[in-house]
């Protein structure tokens, strides 16, 4: 068992770089999510760890071992594929046993391990079934058992939950997370669903256009995004264009002066805040808060929260979310109000 | 994929198989230019004389002409019968549709030598019964060749229709087009590549047909493949290589033409 280290990984197809200088270290035993929009290079990165993709340059290490030039079948990775890729001509038990045969295990040892794995994923009773007779969730558990049976160094999962319906998705992701923790195996999974990533991953690597934008815990990414992309991709975010004029001071395009906590170089930038950190009201706000005059575009009652769609004087669309329990009220369209938030609750990105 | 000795061996193997498939054709084309009267490797020189000689041999000249004529007629027949049939089978639902499809594809599945024998004896019976001679005649050969082309037309036009589905035609009808208009403005353009491919493959199937023609040709009414086989039973020289090369060139030209209309990689 060891961690995985990627150093300056590049995968280029002609002029196009699917993976553009990615360096990251996956700690031993952690579950890391590679998160990003379709086509961002996260799957290519995963496949580079597996060995299906040969990097144009850069290295892949499992612990101390450099596996960059090692072919897939010698890397000892466990992989769960999108769609599970269970062998249709073999039953569940033989699927799970598949990787053990080639390692020269004797029949007794194989049978013992297969039983062990099937019990681990709670499918012991279905060992004689074929893949087509199993539900999606069951197939996924077989795929996991098969991958883990060989005692891999790393567990890789390619969009493992995308083929499941919503309810099953929630159920399976907690299960997989639990199983992964029990086994303590270094794992990487790829997803485009941020809720999923934030719910189960120890850390998340956000990938965009082949580059690793940010690596950190869910809280790091949400509260302290380092780039506009991360700020906008994780959760909802409001962006106010303008420039940083002095440490902690921001001049919005419309002329309003705003303050922010944290550091940022002077020059053009965007000030960001989350919808739940702002309040909207007639004009009374705590001293020291940022204020921005807006007019109401629409108000939507969602049950636990009420969402306000607002337009600032410089034409920017803003979203404020107020909990209904705090007594948020409806407001007619076009009404002029003031949005306010604390400087500590906002951040600046390029 | 990382290169390794195993992968290189695999590539060599695959290349060798393709060489095996293609080499004989290359060799016979090469041999058609040999200067020696008897086939010798390596040749002492090269000449075009055998092509001229081939044309002078009555069997080959008339065989060539007959093959071209029969192929053209058989192609027309195969299209005239096959295109409507394909339309009916793909766009209509009626009892017995699938068995009917199989029947129309049958000529492809019946062994050619069996079909040849059967059609020959049938023609003889027809002649006995009606005094109409079909053996050793142009119409007789043409009928057999049309049947050979029919499954190709069915397959290729049905594939065209199946991949596009009837959705375009339904759209046309919803916009007010009647059956005939829908056919000419919507269906026909859709099946055009399939029809052209069908024409070209029917032509090839007819031009190269051997086992059925064997029973149905006669003196003065023979096809090129039969003329080649007859010659080969007694002689093997550069003349026959020249004749074979001509057939190769014709088929090759037709294939090249068809590659523009149908992605050959997907037709099979």
């Amino acid at each position: 068992m060891s961690g995985v280290t990627l150093r300056n990984l590049i995968k280029a197809y002609g002029e196009l770089r699917a993976v553009d200088d990615v360096s990251l270290e996956i700690r031993e035993g952690e579950l890391l999510a590679l998160l990003g929009p379709s086509g961002c290079g996260k799957t290519t990165t995963l496949r580079a760890i597996a060995g299906f993709v040969q990097p144009t340059s850069g290295t892949v290490h499992f612990g101390e071992r450099d596996v960059t030039a090692v072919p897939v079948h010698k890397r000892n990775v466990g992989m769960v594929f999108q769609g599970y890729a269970l062998f249709p001509h073999l039953n569940v038990a033989k699927n799970v046993a598949f990787g053990l045969k080639v390692r020269g295990w004797d029949k007794q040892r194989v049978r013992k391990r297969v039983t062990e794995m099937l019990e681990w994923v709670q499918l012991a009773k279905l060992s004689e079934r074929r893949a087509r007779e199993l539900s999606g969730g069951q197939q996924q558990r077989v795929a996991l058992a098969r991958a883990m049976a060989i005692k891999p160094e790393v567990l890789l999962l390619d969009e493992p939950f995308s083929a499941l319906d919503a309810k099953l998705r929630l159920q399976m992701r907690t299960e997989i997370r639990q199983l992964q923790r029990e086994a303590g195996i270094t794992s990487v999974f790829v997803t485009h669903d941020q809720d999923e990533a934030m719910a189960i991953a120890d850390r998340i690597g956000v990938i965009n256009h082949g580059r690793l934008e940010q690596l950190g815990s869910a809280e790091d990414l949400y509260k302290r995004p380092v780039s506009r992309f991360v700020a906008g991709f994780i959760g909802k975010c409001n962006f106010i264009e303008g420039r940083v004029t002095a440490p902690g001071r921001f001049a919005a395009a419309g002329g309003v002066e705003l303050r922010f906590a944290g550091q940022h170089a002077a020059g053009p930038a965007a000030l960001c805040f989350r919808p739940e950190h702002a309040a909207v009201g007639p004009g009374t706000a705590a001293a020291g808060d940022n204020r921005l005059p807006v007019s109401v575009k629409s108000v939507t009652y969602l049950g636990p929260a009420t969402e306000y769609e607002l337009i600032s004087e410089s034409g920017e669309n803003l979203l404020v979310s107020a909990s209904s329990a705090s007594g948020a009220a409806a407001a007619p369209q076009g009404e002029r109000l003031v949005v306010s938030w604390r400087p500590e609750d906002c951040f600046v990105v390029d | 994929m990382p290169t390794s000795a195993g992968r290189v061996l695999f590539l060599v193997f695959v290349a060798a198989v393709f060489l095996f498939l293609v080499a004989p054709l290359v060799v016979i084309v090469w041999a058609s230019f040999f200067a020696d009267k008897i086939l010798t490797f390596p040749p002492s020189g090269y000449t075009l004389a055998w092509y001229a000689r081939a044309w002078q041999l009555p069997d080959f000249a008339s065989g060539f002409l007959m093959s071209v004529q029969v192929a053209i007629c058989a192609t027309l027949g195969s299209l005239l019968l096959g295109v409507p049939a394909a339309l009916a089978v793909e766009r209509f639902r009626f009892p017995g549709r699938e068995p009917l499809r199989q029947i129309l594809l049958a000529p492809m599945y019946v062994p050619a030598i069996v079909a040849g024998a059967a059609v020959y004896l049938y023609f003889v019976q027809v002649e006995i019964a009606t005094e109409v001679q079909l053996t050793a005649t142009f119409p007789g050969v043409m009928i057999a060749h049309t049947m050979v082309g029919l499954p190709w037309t069915m397959r290729l036009v049905c594939a065209s229709l199946a991949t596009t589905g009837s959705i375009a035609e339904e759209a046309a009808q919803s916009l007010g087009a009647n059956a005939l208009q829908t056919f000419f403005y919507v269906t026909l353009p859709i099946i055009r590549p399939g029809v052209i491919a069908a024409a070209l493959f029917s032509f090839i199937a007819s031009f190269t047909e051997l086992e059925m023609s064997l029973f149905l040709v006669g003196p003065g009414k023979t096809t090129l493949p039969i003329a080649i086989v007859n010659y080969l039973e007694w002689n093997l020289d550069s003349t026959i290589a020249a004749v074979a090369t001509v057939q190769i060139l014709i088929i090759g030209a037709v294939l090249l033409a068809s590659d523009r209309f149908v992605n050959l990689g997907k037709a099979f």
Binding site: - | R93, A115, M147, T208
Partner: protein
């Protein structure tokens, strides 16, 4: 899909001409020779007009004919086996090649020799294998032999010729079945420790078994029914079913017996086609 009543143009009119052609000129003749096969030969009238199974009995008991049938089956089986061995790796290569252009090119190269026709192909092999052909010419020139080796007009030559006829069919059939097997299954095999070659054998082959059966059936039938290759490349000393049918019907004019031979070939083809189609329908993908 249009329901029958809604269209003014009935499908009948569209399909009847083709159906008539096939019925009149294929199905009826086949039925006719089935009837003939149950008749007996008469030197004067050609047929006696009786019903008898004698012809079929003769095919399966007369030593000469059982030998021809057996020999044909053996040659067909051998050619089929060689075809599958050569064709599977090639089909796999074509199916898994990443370049669309290479794939198209290889399929065209596979199909090209097929479309040239059996006469030309046999002629080409004669030029290669003949006593003054390419192989002998090369061996003589290099000095490996002093006299031409007899390659042509032997059963070996027939097998070589048949393999070249059958191989394109095998490759195309296998390639389309391998196409349907998702690449992720092979990747799963490789991630579990199987080398690329072992993955092909342990994962792709078993799953493509229905395709292998279908390809084998097609190849076997083509070889059993072959005419030009046995005649031109086998020569007078090689006796196979196809040429025998022709000889009995067109030369000896023993129509009943020739028809029986034809129907034996037909029956073998029918059975194998049905078996392989049923098997093929049980594919996984």
């Amino acid at each position: 899909m249009v329901e029958l009543q809604e269209r003014r143009l009935k499908p009948g009119a569209l399909v009847i001409p083709a159906l008539l052609l096939v019925s009149a000129f294929l199905l009826a003749p086949l039925a006719l020779i089935l009837r003939f096969s149950l008749d007996l030969y008469d030197p004067a009238q050609l047929m006696q007009g009786v019903f008898s199974l004698d012809n079929y009995v003769k095919v399966f008991t007369d030593p000469f004919y059982t030998q021809v049938l057996g020999f044909t089956a053996q040659i067909a089986a051998l050619s089929t086996a060689i075809c599958l061995l050569l064709g599977y790796p090639v089909a796999y290569f074509i199916s898994r090649s990443h370049s669309e252009r290479l794939r198209s090119l290889l399929i065209i190269l596979t199909v090209l020799p097929l479309l040239m026709g059996n006469a030309v192909r046999s002629a080409a092999w004669m030029v290669v294998m003949g006593s003054s052909g390419l192989i002998n010419g090369l061996l003589l020139a290099v000095g490996i032999i002093e006299e031409p080796v007899k390659i042509l007009y032997t059963p070996t030559a027939v097998v070589i010729g048949l393999v070249s006829v059958l191989l394109p069919f095998a490759i195309i059939t296998l390639q389309s079945v391998i196409d349907s097997i998702p690449a992720s299954l092979e990747e799963a095999g490789r991630s579990l420790g199987y080398s690329p070659l072992r993955t092909m054998v342990a994962v792709v082959m078993p799953i493509s078994l229905p395709g292998i059966v279908a390809a084998a059936a097609i190849c076997f039938c083509l070889a059993m029914n072959a005419y030009a290759t046995p005649v031109l490349i086998g020569g007078p000393s090689v006796h196979m079913m196809g040429p025998l049918v022709y000889q009995q019907i067109a030369k000896v004019a023993n129509w009943p017996f020739g028809s029986a031979l034809a129907w034996v070939l037909m029956a073998v083809t029918l059975v194998l086609t049905v078996v392989s189609t049923t098997y093929l329908s049980r594919r996984y993908f």
